[in-house]
């Protein structure tokens, strides 16, 4: 049985589903079928099924070393951004009045709103003027700066919602301020911290603009390798590596969910 009067709502819901999924996933579809397409040109019409391109990715020294650099940068940047981001979140939510609130939070969103190409170029120029050689560390720092606003947003939000009532209760129960931080405040923030860390790692892993300027020629992250391949030779290997990358990131997120017992994807 169905109640009357819901028709327009049902149409709207179906429409939003179609628009939402269609526009988000639609553009990805050609990549998917090209990854399994036998044609040696990318992109090309469908010619037959093959796994050849995936084999090429896995055996490619270039892609594999790119992936390792990306993982190193991703982990380093995420760790650094977590320290920066969690500290900043506490400052924004619990700091003195002049540092607290919307204006301060907006200011800390700076790295997101300034075009990354400009940040990349500026860091490169500054480093060369100081005759400072940017290695892996430079890349990690730049990525950390870029991803920390996402961590600040999520962690500050959670901290705000959490309030200070529970901490007051804990202090009255005899725990010193620092003990409360480690037994209560941080454990309660764990889901927010883990989720934002996974998000930060993903953003760093797929980042192009910063890496483009700042990665030394012997340390190329995966997206840069893909970018250069794209300019030189267009083969379906590009599609295959993209699919693999998405798959690995999804897997890593799922693993983080299992290990840390938090919900990130839902």
């Amino acid at each position: 049985m169905r109640q009357r009067g819901w028709t327009s709502w049902r149409i709207l819901r179906a429409l939003s589903l179609f628009i939402g999924y269609g526009f988000v996933l639609g553009p990805v579809l050609p990549v998917v079928y090209n990854a399994f397409n036998a044609s040696p040109i990318f992109p090309a019409p469908f010619e037959g099924l093959t796994l050849e391109w995936f084999r090429s990715v896995v055996t490619s020294e270039q892609y594999m070393s790119g992936a390792i650099v990306s993982i190193e940068v991703g982990i380093g940047a995420t760790a650094l951004a977590l320290v920066i981001g969690v500290c900043a979140a506490f400052a924004v939510v619990r700091g003195p009045a002049w540092i607290r609130g919307g204006a301060a939070t907006s200011l800390l969103m700076g790295p997101i709103v300034i075009p990354q190409i400009v940040i990349g170029l500026a860091i490169l120029e500054a480093a060369s003027q100081l005759s400072f050689r940017l290695g892996l560390a430079g890349l990690i720092i730049a990525h950390a700066v870029f991803v920390s606003p996402f961590i600040i947003r999520v962690v500050a939000g959670a901290l705000e919602v959490q309030g200070s009532n529970l901490e007051s209760a804990a202090m009255v129960l005899g725990s010193r301020r620092t003990a409360v931080l480690f037994t209560l405040t941080l454990p309660m923030l764990r889901p927010a911290i883990v989720a934002s860390a996974v998000f930060a790692f993903t953003l760093s892993f797929v980042n192009v603009p910063l890496s483009l300027f700042l990665s030394p020629s012997n340390l190329r992250p995966l997206p840069i390798v893909i970018y250069q391949e794209m300019i030189n030779t267009r083969t379906p290997v590009l599609a295959a590596v993209s699919i693999l990358l998405a798959f690995v990131l999804l897997l890593a997120t799922g693993l983080a969910e299992k290990v840390f017992r938090v919900r990130i994807l839902q």
């Binding site: 009532n165 209760a169 009255v172 005899g174």
Partner: protein, 358 residues
């Protein structure tokens, strides 16, 4: 456990959040093992006082003593208190058992001992079955009891309860009220209890401090607060007394109260002669009163409303300058019709002379 109970003394406490004083010159003393209720309207500074006692807020002036020890500048974790927030504030990432155990952590007890103590406390509040459940799965009354167990587990010197029952429905509230009162008495801990519900204060407390605008209007036993209030504010706030404005005079060693054209004989008054108010509880106002009611008036019924077992009647009394007097009587076969004129009255011993509000 009783030997840990201590007296609590607040002296001239003032608190200012930056927009003028919220609490000014607040002083109170609670004997060991007694229950003090802070009763007052929303925003009068009740929670602020609790935060000062707990050390979550430093007063701008005044002192807090537990027994003879000055605690004014000690941090919360050195005060050995139990605090139960309005929101219960259970730690969501810990099980019920770990919540109760949390306060034992700083005591550096052996794990086995602290767990046993926590289980004992859960038994006291009948929550042993829920030891391994997370607080999000508890009902309001259950989290209430866990919060109480958690507050009592470290054997606090003083227990602070901030409107602990306000989030419960009426039936459960009554039951929890009785249960908590029984547990607190059994443990024998000095308790300060905040509420805006007069029933709650009257039924649980040894002493009630009626508060208004950051200060104590009146401090007395529940019986005196209800039966023998000294201030018009108390009389109106607790029990919703009728207040008749007038003047207290002494003539030939007898007290009389003059209101409008009427003069009433008063049994006793502990006020100086002068402007005052006469307070009468609605349930003491009788319709067509028996002979022992010495204060009698002709009155016209203005309004009648039904309140389950009771009916609330509003009368206009001409001889008191048209003053409205509220009576509350048990619903009987008798039906009063609005507009009818009757005689109303009360015993002179039920009329209390109170000080006018400043």
């Amino acid at each position: 456990m009783t030997q840990t109970a201590q007296s609590l003394t607040l002296e001239d406490i003032s608190v200012d959040y930056g927009r003028g004083p919220v609490v000014a010159n607040f002083s109170v003393h609670v004997e060991p093992g007694k229950i003090l209720a802070l009763l007052g309207q929303s925003g009068c500074g009740k929670s602020t006082i609790l935060r000062v006692i707990a050390g979550l807020l430093t007063p701008s002036a005044g002192s807090v003593h537990f027994g003879a020890t000055d605690m004014t500048l000690r941090p919360p974790w050195e005060r050995n208190l139990g605090l139960m927030f309005q929101s219960h504030a259970l730690f969501p990432h810990l099980t019920v058992l770990r919540n109760v155990e949390y306060g034992l952590r700083p005591k550096k007890m052996a794990k086995k001992d602290s767990e046993r103590r926590a289980l004992e406390m859960l038994e006291l509040v009948h929550m042993t079955r829920y030891a391994n459940v997370h607080p999000t799965e508890l009902s309001g009354g259950q989290s209430q009891r866990v919060a109480l167990a958690r507050a009592l587990a470290p054997e606090p010197r003083v227990l602070l309860l901030d409107e602990p029952f306000s989030s419960l429905d009426a039936g459960l509230r009554e039951r929890m009220r009785a249960e908590v009162a029984a547990i607190v008495r059994q443990v024998g801990v000095t308790t300060v209890f905040v509420t805006h519900d007069q029933d709650e204060a009257l039924s649980i407390a040894d002493m009630i401090a009626v508060m208004s605008a950051g200060n104590i209007v009146e401090l007395a036993s529940p019986r005196d607060i209800y039966k023998r209030p000294r201030h018009a504010y108390t009389a109106a706030f607790v029990g919703g007394s009728n207040l008749i404005k007038g003047e207290l005079c002494a003539a030939n060693g007898a007290w009389r109260f003059k209101a409008g054209d009427t003069e009433l004989a008063i049994r006793e008054a502990n006020l100086a002669a002068g402007p005052a108010m006469l307070a009468i509880k609605p349930e003491d106002v009788a319709v067509d009163p028996p002979p022992e009611c010495q204060h009698r008036f002709r009155a016209r019924l203005e309004e009648a409303s039904f309140h389950g077992p009771n009916q609330r009647l509003v009368w206009l009394v001409e001889s008191l300058d048209g003053k409205a007097i509220v009576s509350r009587t048990v619903n009987s076969q008798r039906d009063f019709r609005v507009g009818d004129t009757h005689e109303i009255g009360w015993k002179s011993s039920d009329a209390v002379v109170v000080e006018m509000d400043q």
